[in-house]
């Protein structure tokens, strides 16, 4: 990477690394409709150095665009909106290839579906349901990721649609270190035993790392308890007392750390239910057309059943802890060596599987295998239902729960009402509440339609409050800049997660409730 790009992108490289940046720079994004929601979403991606953008919009710039879209100004009036937005976006980053097509998205979806096949990801904004359903089919057929974003008055939504998305670097915020204190392997145990935790030298005593302290005291405990580690609350309490009794001084940091980390001795071995689900996924029964990720999962399954004795490969790093430099470096080496050995076993298994399915044995890189092993406990697979499927067969029970939940009822209500607005537009060819003079009538019309949506969704007992229906009509289809910037911001954040394959994307539909300033995920 060039020095200048490295400096320019420094603050984001610290999050997704050069490999994440490279993925962004390879990605081709298509934006449908460049109102404020779409323009803001693209702006954030252009700043971050996305590979290319193609802006699709068939409208000309009007006065109302100047009131909510920063990419347009007085000079743009009457010109192609796609062209003007594209010109401004290009100004933000000349490393990005920016193109525009002056055409209505619906025309492309209807008349030229193959147009979309060259993109990595399509961001569809302010589209009607009927068009979305068609676009979703096109994208799924060509394995193109689809991001849907909509801003409507003080509400909006963001949703992802694609067949499956596998994440190796899920980067969870909280995750228990893989230290194996409950089941240390021979080299680690041996190293711990080689250190006398009752050493009389006070400097060494207070610089004995907690990993060593806990393994030794756990060994002692197991000897006194028929080979068992502390499990009950009382036992865990006694175990902590045992740790404290080994302190020479109350201010020994390493013993405080040991007490805080003592629960790690009692952790149950084995894998999480989430990982178990991935291992038993039908995609893990691999064949010659399986993606690399699933070949690694197949190898992981074998590893856990054989060499791992129930555990995935060791992660290999240890957190910082009070310690003599020498002890700490030695511990680091022991963990690294075990991780490398595990990785090597995995590599052999991967190569054997590749051979068995008729692929080149070196067609998956060592770096990929290493990264997979390091994150084996954190793998995530996301799947999304086709939009049509979700509309026809919503998760009724979930929705019903949201509708009566005080915290969620507005978001669920907006979700239903946004569908009702789509039907209203199909009937009346305009937004409900577009004209002040029709407000009263539109409220009654929207209510009737909303009742229909509820009943079609199987939500017979649920009702919507009059207040919310009124509010929806009050919005009158307005695209409020701050709401659009919020929704566009969320959409660009999800785009980054999908393209870099880092972090976990939304696992449901995000509904924005601008009244209470809540964004909630609905599992519909």
């Amino acid at each position: 990477m060039a020095v200048e790009s490295k400096t320019k992108y420094d603050r984001q490289l610290r999050i997704w690394g050069e490999h994440g940046q490279a993925a962004l720079e390879k990605a081709n994004i298509c934006l449908l409709n460049c109102g404020p929601t779409g323009s803001e979403a693209l702006k954030n991606l252009v700043l971050g150095g996305i590979g290319s953008i193609t802006v699709i919009d068939g409208t000309k710039v009007e006065n109302h665009d100047l009131g909510n879209n920063f990419m347009l100004d007085e000079m743009s009036l009457g010109q192609s909106k796609a062209k003007c937005v594209c010109t401004f976006l290009q100004e933000l980053n000349d490393a990005v290839k920016a193109k525009f097509v002056e055409e209505h998205p619906d025309a492309l979806i209807e008349g030229n579906p193959s147009f979309f096949s060259s993109f990595t990801l399509v961001i569809a904004t302010q589209l009607l349901e009927s068009s979305l359903v068609k676009l979703d089919k096109i994208c799924r057929q060509s394995n193109i990721m689809l991001l849907v974003a909509l801003s409507y008055g003080l509400t909006g939504l963001v949703r992802i649609s694609l067949k499956d998305h596998e994440v190796i670097e899920s980067k969870p915020e909280h995750f228990v270190d893989d230290l194996r204190l409950n089941n240390p392997w021979p080299e680690l145990k041996e190293f711990a035993k080689s250190i006398d935790i009752n050493v009389t030298d006070p400097v060494v005593h207070k610089h004995t790392p907690y990993i060593v302290i806990l393994i030794n005291i756990a060994g002692k405990w197991a000897d006194q308890h028929g080979g068992c580690l502390p499990t009950t609350r009382q036992e865990k309490k006694e175990f902590k007392e045992l740790i404290k009794s080994c302190m020479l001084n109350v201010d020994e940091e390493n013993y405080k750390e040991a007490t805080e980390a003592s629960y790690k001795v009692s952790l149950t071995s084995g894998i999480s239910s989430q990982l178990r689900q991935i291992l038993s996924d039908s995609a893990a029964e691999v064949n010659s057309s399986s993606p690399d990720f699933w070949i690694l999962v197949a190898a992981l399954k074998e590893f856990i059943e054989n060499e791992g004795a129930g555990e995935p490969p060791l992660e290999g790093s240890i957190p910082d802890m009070t310690s003599l430099t020498e002890y700490y470096i030695n511990l680091q080496k022991i963990y690294q060596a075990k991780a490398e050995a595990d990785c090597l076993v995995m590599e052999h298994r991967v190569r054997a599987i590749l051979k068995s399915i008729g692929r080149e044995t070196d067609s998956i890189s060592k770096a990929y295998i290493k990264n997979f092993c390091k994150n084996a406990r954190k793998l995530v697979v996301c799947r999304y239902r086709p939009i049509e499927d979700e509309l026809n067969n919503p998760a009724v029970q979930e929705l019903q729960k949201y509708m009566i939940d005080e915290d969620y009822c507005f978001s669920a209500g907006f979700y239903i009402l946004l569908q009702a607005v789509d039907r209203f537009i199909a009937n009346y060819n305009r937004f409900p509440g577009l004209f002040d003079t029709e407000m009263e009538d539109d409220i009654a019309r929207l209510k009737t339609i909303a009742v229909g949506v509820l009943s079609d969704s199987g939500l017979h007992g649920s009702t919507l409050t009059e207040d919310l229906i009124n509010e929806m009509c009050r919005f009158g289809g307005a695209e409020i800049h701050s709401v659009a910037a919020f929704i566009g911001g969320v959409a660009s954040q999800e785009a980054i997660k999908l393209i870099t394959k880092q972090f976990v994307p939304l696992n449901g539909m995000l509904v924005f409730n601008g009244i209470d300033q809540k964004s909630q995920i609905l599992l519909v």
């Binding site: 999050i15 009131g67 100004d73 009158g476 800049h481």
Partner: protein
């Protein structure tokens, strides 16, 4: 000024919220075609910080109908700002953030007046801050937030029944981001907890004990901080370390590498050295956009009453 009919057309979308009555609105909301004009004419907003959040806030506020905005920031534009501070270009590097940001927004949104202040927040006297109806904070330091908080709280007066006098309440909207995470909150001194009440919400800054740095280093960060905090003074005596001087940073980096080699510690890179020494917080455009939008929407709600206001705290973490 454009003709009033084109102005009406221009603000078509936001006027839906400002001219129509609703049932889920703030107390005392009086919708009318005049409301947007009054907001533009009479509401004075101060944006503190013209960085990642500040750039977004100025845009969002200008497109929410605010026309009297001030922005204060002592910093100048750096190359590493360009991945998110969308009002700045490569040729702006070295110029005042406040000045350039104000100019760019005024160029694009006609009718808005943004006054930049290229100085420290402490350089302004307290009267300056009292002139604003609302203060929006787009800051990355706890100290700066504390300062503005103390200024805003100092305006608060209580009546004889010990209730806060409404006119003396200076609302603050505080935004903050780190990587994919962020927060937005409304602080009404005397009504909601203030910044100092909730200061524990911020994670403590990592500080290593000097004895660890000097005697038992274990990580790359320990080696870097040794070079930065101990070795620099030993070698350079009275000369102050300047984190923005590349020669100084190079020196610290090389010393850190030497120390890491001595102890067999891996992971010292130039980029990591900068990160540790300058306490760099990762930042991206999308999170700044999300948090600023949430803040700007709350500003509009508080000033206009067009919807309920955020009860106090909103965090965003989609990762």
């Amino acid at each position: 000024m454009a003709s009033s009919s084109s102005e009406l057309a221009r603000w078509r979308d936001i006027d839906k919220l400002l001219t129509r009555q609703g049932n889920i609105v703030g107390p005392g909301f009086e919708p009318s075609p005049q409301l947007r004009q009054d907001i533009g004419e009479f509401a004075r907003v101060l944006v503190v910080g013209a960085g990642g959040l500040g750039c977004e806030l100025l845009k969002d506020l200008a497109l929410s109908g605010f026309r009297n905005i001030d922005v204060i920031d002592m910093d100048t534009i750096e190359i590493s700002n360009l991945n998110r501070q969308f009002l700045f270009r490569l040729q702006d590097v070295g110029k005042s953030k406040a000045v350039v940001a104000a100019k760019r927004v005024m160029e694009r949104v006609s009718g808005v007046n943004i006054t930049p202040h290229f100085c420290r927040i402490e350089d302004k006297d307290i009267v300056f801050y009292n002139d604003f109806n609302i203060i929006v904070l787009g800051l990355d330091s706890i100290e700066a937030r504390s300062y503005i908080n103390s200024v805003a709280c100092s305006f608060l007066e209580y009546d004889s029944d010990d209730n806060p006098v409404p006119e003396s309440i200076k609302p603050m909207i505080d935004g903050g981001t780190e990587g994919f995470k962020g927060h937005a909150r409304v602080i009404l001194p005397g009504v909601t907890p203030c910044f100092e009440c909730n200061i524990w919400l911020f994670p403590p800054q990592v500080k290593f004990p000097l004895c660890t740095l000097a005697e038992t280093p274990r990580t790359a960060a320990h080696c870097i901080e040794y070079a930065h905090l101990i070795k620099w003074n030993e070698v350079h005596g009275g000369k102050t370390f300047d984190p923005d001087d590349p020669e100084h940073m190079q020196w610290v980096y090389k010393e850190a590498v030497k120390r890491a080699e001595l102890f067999g510690i891996a992971g010292v890179t130039y980029s990591f050295t900068q990160g540790v020494v300058k306490n760099i917080i990762p930042a991206i455009a999308s999170t700044n956009a999300i948090i600023s939008a949430a803040c700007a929407l709350e500003v509009l709600k508080i000033v206009s009453g067009c919807s309920k206001t955020l009860s106090n705290y909103m965090t965003s973490s989609t990762s």
